[in-house]
Symmetry: C2
Subunit: 333 residues, 2 copies
């Protein structure tokens, strides 16, 4: 059993878009968002409706940037952190596009990109989209405490990004190209602290990254960047330590979306950003355009997800995690 897939017919990412909230706009990547929403409700009545609007906006910007109509898309793969993935279902329901729902927690953008690429590469879709989002206010009250409660956040806690990302994979097109992927296994090393997701997810990231490197006979230095989803400060340090134990130096090429989205000096985000929208917006707004312009040549995008629920966590369960990796390149071969 191998975790790695190398795509025979190499699909192209022909469009991508990122939308964010006020804090994301004020962060170091603010200028790379297609739209910043200062209103956390996005002119809706609830945070959850606001989150679904993030996905709708991300999809519409993505379509518009490539002059696509909803009808041009054969399948959308999407999901998010909200119970029953309602950010996606309510966000895209008006688009009238065949839809396969995903649940990968914060790894959703990588999972969607893998599924979209597999369906396009095999000819079962000409164009397939992936979309996801997260919202600080809807996530806090669902996973932790109502915002009004003002619960204190420990230093290991991460800040759920208010952001959405969407991309379109096509059988024909220019760079970036999706060359391959590694599908993650569930890793669970016994972390139970829902305020320390980075520690829970780091082993999953290393498991998938090391499987991909081993199965493709590649070295970290074959990539300009090995980009994890949102391990934050704690998880990023753990990832590099796990790699070091197996004689692999990731430090020179490792970046983490959760460390890139906010300014640690000016923004109170503790261990860094998180949420499906974090790595989705960093990838769609910042990284993919860089690969398109060949400022980056080969990126291994390893999004990570903590697959816990508050219910099971309150029942004393540990936090199973997963990471899916996608090899994105500026060349077809």
């Amino acid at each position: 059993m191998k975790q790695t897939i190398i795509f025979g017919s190499v699909p192209s990412i022909i469009s991508s878009a990122a939308v964010g909230g006020k804090m994301e706009g004020e962060g170091p990547l603010g200028q790379y968002f297609d739209k910043i929403n200062d209103d956390p409700y996005l002119s809706t009545e609830t945070f959850e409706q606001g989150e679904s609007k993030l996905q709708k906006e991300a999809m519409l910007h993505m379509l518009q940037k490539a002059s696509l109509k909803p009808d041009d898309i054969d399948i959308i793969f999407g999901g998010d952190l909200l119970n029953q993935c309602t950010g996606t279902t309510y966000g895209i329901r008006d688009l009238n596009i065949p839809f396969l729902g995903l649940y990968g927690a914060c790894s959703t953008m990588a999972e969607g990109l893998i599924c979209a690429s597999a369906f396009v590469s095999s000819g079962y879709a000409q164009k397939a989209a992936a979309v996801t989002s997260s919202h600080f206010c809807s996530a806090e009250r669902q996973y932790r405490y109502p915002l009004n409660y003002g619960g204190q956040r420990p230093p290991t806690a991460q800040w759920t990004a208010t952001a959405g990302g969407a991309l379109c994979v096509s059988a024909e097109g220019e760079a970036p190209f999706v060359r391959g992927c590694a599908i993650g296994k569930i890793e669970d090393l016994g972390i139970t602290d829902a305020n320390n997701m980075g520690a829970a997810m780091a082993p999953a990231a290393w498991s998938t990254i090391s499987a991909f490197l081993r199965e493709t006979n590649k070295l970290p230095s074959d990539f300009d960047m090995i980009l994890t989803g949102d391990l934050g400060k704690v998880g990023s340090r753990l990832l590099c330590e796990l790699a070091e134990k197996e004689n692999t130096d990731l430090r020179s090429v490792h970046s983490d979306c959760g460390l890139m989205l906010y300014s640690f000096e000016d923004q109170d985000v503790h261990a860094g950003g998180s949420g499906c929208g974090c790595c989705a917006s960093v990838l769609c707004g910042y990284i993919l355009p860089k690969i398109q312009r060949s400022e980056l040549h080969n990126v291994l995008f390893a999004a990570t997800g903590a697959l816990m629920s508050p219910t099971l966590n309150q029942q004393g369960e540990t936090i199973p995690s997963i990471s899916h990796a996608v090899w994105i390149s500026d060349s077809r071969e």
Copy 2:
């Protein structure tokens, strides 16, 4: 944009298994389950842990029936109704198999079968599994009321099955074969009553079934059975009426898993069964073996899912629904 995929290289379903709870064992299909669990906790401490054990048991029975080891499976596609799909993640985490998580509500088994078939048909996996579950006790308290509250159920309400189903799709093997599928679009006709899922889902079922028939130039009479997931009494009647309005008679070939799993005379299930485990167990335990023995030749399995969440429902939102259809046959061509 077409919703239908016809698989070039036709994958085979080489094994399937169904596990159920006490009520499912006492129903008309009781003898077709691989295992019946009289204990709703399945010897765990909570209903949620019990549900995850349903998926583990379904996977293990499925593997054992085809003399497969977990290592033989390249990917599992799975999901369920619990928040963050924890039935699947906790159920399969020990199996150490690459995993792509799905959220399709009660349509999950069809979605998993589509994804598994696509990955196998395209050569990206040799063997791919699909797994799902539902549990009356965990679903009631998550979606409606705590069981102890004893809330009254209206006649349109359906009974969430305590059941799990798993199957394995392989590049090589005998019947049943997965010939094609139609990927559903989100349909939302404005139903807001979470106790009338059948009415919410019927338009989605008809949308997908009619798209498949239209795009493949087939008639209902080309199938021994058009099998919807869990529309129950209300939704099944609506589906046939919707078809009739477009001059299609489904009544002679239509069956519904939600109408098959329980006895309406002896079991107090109101409008019928529901939940991811309902159509998964009926398909995996009863229908697939019938196709394997050529007692059924061509079945269009159209599972349906209501993509709402209690949160959004309480915010006054309507219930978006989806249906994915899979054409399963006893012959390759």
